[in-house]
Amino acid sequence: MAALLNKEIRDLLADPASVKVLATVDEAGLPHVVVRQSLQVGDDGNLLYTELLESSRTNKNLVRSIWYDKQVSIAIQGPQGQSYQIRGVPVKTHITGPLFQKHYTEVRRKLGDVDLAAVWIIEPLEVINENFAVRKAEEEKNHPFLKHLDRLAQH
């Protein structure tokens, strides 16, 4: 079932100062990770990724994912250290049509003489809060054994 991307995540994805990373896997299960600032939220609430290179490993892995229902992962880090992971599955590839042409024109306006291989639509399935403060509080609450004793010692 699709996960909802809340306002904070949408804002992070739209913020040019955020770092966005897309992780896919190949046929052997080996991860392939790339920084991709073009990741954004589409009008339908799904993630949208513009792939410029038909021959890229990411593109091939995305094809494999849509063919075999494999998940991909997106990591976002905001300028104030906010950190989220979104797991999702590619559900559609646009290689023609108005959405494709809109992004084709846009990437060429921004980047010059480049091509656009596809516009990928990724349905988010799970959002994981990777903020350190949140994760630390979770661990201390749920796993009280997982700490070094000297942190608790009387000095």
Partner: protein, 417 residues
């Protein structure tokens, strides 16, 4: 559907069974093959959703399954960007339905909604005419990312009744000329104007394909055919800033001198000459004109020599996949047919020639009109076999892949290479 066909289909594996048996062929590609094999029928409520942004059926070399020319959507797109070129098919032949399900178009089989689909968008140039007053869609037809230039729809093998047995090109040419006014021979100027207009639409096209029937005339056989292609390609080339442009020619088997002329005098980047069926005995039966004019072995040699001119990964041959099982002289067993076809395809791959296939659909205007095409399982095995040969021999097929053609289930798999 005839009783014999019903009984045959009942013994074949279903789509889901084939997908389970061959997990390395994705379900969407197996579905594409099945939709091509069986055809589609658009329901009335599906057709009510079609507006003028949709590409309707354009002039084409070959006729449709029902022998009619009707204003129906050209074809369909799956959610992964795969094109399915397929014909409107009479209901009695058990096609997939294209129906409206929950407000969306879908491929439906019986009670099952198999997959949601979209229709091809119409390119902007389709609404324009050339300066000579011909609709541009009659000069150059479109696929989602490819331009088709069918510059002459007459094949001279038909003159001596030596046409390829699966082909209906001449009968369909007459029908298109009579019913639509499609010119049977294109003028290079019209082609150039249309290409110029097509290129104005950003991001729409990645390649073009020229093809036509065989022309035997000339000092050497096919010289006039070569002359016509050179003239047309040079006219097209006026629209590009580079000498070479992504392009494919599917033609008769030209000799080295002819191929060199094409390569040196035009912007052409790849060359395909269809053997149609692999194996000399079947070639002689199914393609009598090609057999008599050039012969199977020499056709293969011309393909191999083309690699020296166009480069490895830029030369191919096309098959009408499944026609090797046509009766009475074809294989009677699908496994034997597959083994033989792949063995021959491997001999070509070893020399840098890639083999691709289209799904054979017996057409009413062809000699083989009463034949039956093979099972889905056969076509799936053929797709993976040809794909695996490309992997084994390191053969790219960019010039004939899902964007630059979209009609070969085997090259759809090359998206993973």
């Amino acid at each position: 559907m005839s009783l014999a066909l019903v009984k045959k289909r009942e013994t074949e594996l279903s789509l889901s069974e084939v997908v389970e048996k061959y997990p390395d062929v994705p379900r969407l590609i197996a579905l594409k093959i099945d939709a091509q094999r069986r055809g589609v029928h658009y329901t009335e409520r599906a057709l009510k959703t079609v507006d003028d942004t949709v590409q309707m059926r354009s002039p084409y070399l070959f006729g449709s399954r029902d022998g009619e020319i009707k204003p129906l959507p050209e074809s369909i797109l799956l959610r992964d960007g795969t094109s399915i070129l397929t014909d409107p098919t009479p209901l009695e032949q058990n096609p997939y339905l294209v129906d409206l399900v929950d407000g969306r178009l879908a491929l439906v089989d019986g009670d099952e909604t198999v997959e949601f689909i979209e229709l091809w968008p119409k390119p902007l140039y389709y609404d324009k005419q050339t300066s000579s007053g011909i609709p541009m869609s009659h000069i150059v037809s479109a696929r989602p990312q490819r331009l088709n230039i069918f510059q002459s729809s007459y094949c001279h093998f038909w003159a001596d009744k030596k046409e390829c047995r699966f082909c209906d090109i001449v009968n369909h040419t007459k029908q298109q000329k009579n019913e639509l006014g499609v010119p049977s021979r294109l003028k290079p100027q019209d082609v150039s104007e249309t290409i110029r207009e097509a290129l104005k639409e950003p991001g729409r096209f990645t390649g073009m394909c020229l093809t036509a029937g065989s022309v035997l005339k000339g000092e050497q056989i096919f010289d006039h055919e070569v002359d016509f292609y050179i003239e047309t390609l040079q006219a097209i080339g006026e629209n590009f800033t580079t000498k070479k442009f992504p392009s494919q020619l599917i033609s008769s088997a030209f000799n080295e001198k002819q191929l060199a002329r094409l390569y040196e005098q035009t912007g052409l980047m790849s060359y395909t000459s269809d053997l149609e069926v692999l194996g000399e005995k079947l070639f002689n039966w199914i393609c009598p004109g090609k057999a008599e004019s050039v012969g199977y072995q020499e056709w293969k040699q011309r393909l191999i020599r083309a690699v020296d001119i166009f480069g490895r990964g830029n030369v191919g041959t096309g098959l009408v996949g499944g026609v090797e099982l046509a009766q009475p002289s074809g294989f009677t067993n699908e496994q034997d047919a597959l083994a033989s076809t792949l063995e021959e395809a491997e001999s070509l791959a070893a020399h840098g020639v890639t083999t691709v296939y289209i799904v054979w659909v017996p057409r009413p205007g062809s000699y083989f009109r009463d034949q039956q095409n093979p099972s889905l399982e056969y076509f799936v095995q053929l797709a993976r076999g040809l794909h695996n040969l490309r992997v084994k021999y390191g053969l790219g097929v960019d010039f004939d892949d899902y964007r630059h053609c979209g009609n070969h289930p085997d090259t759809d798999l090359s998206r993973l290479i």
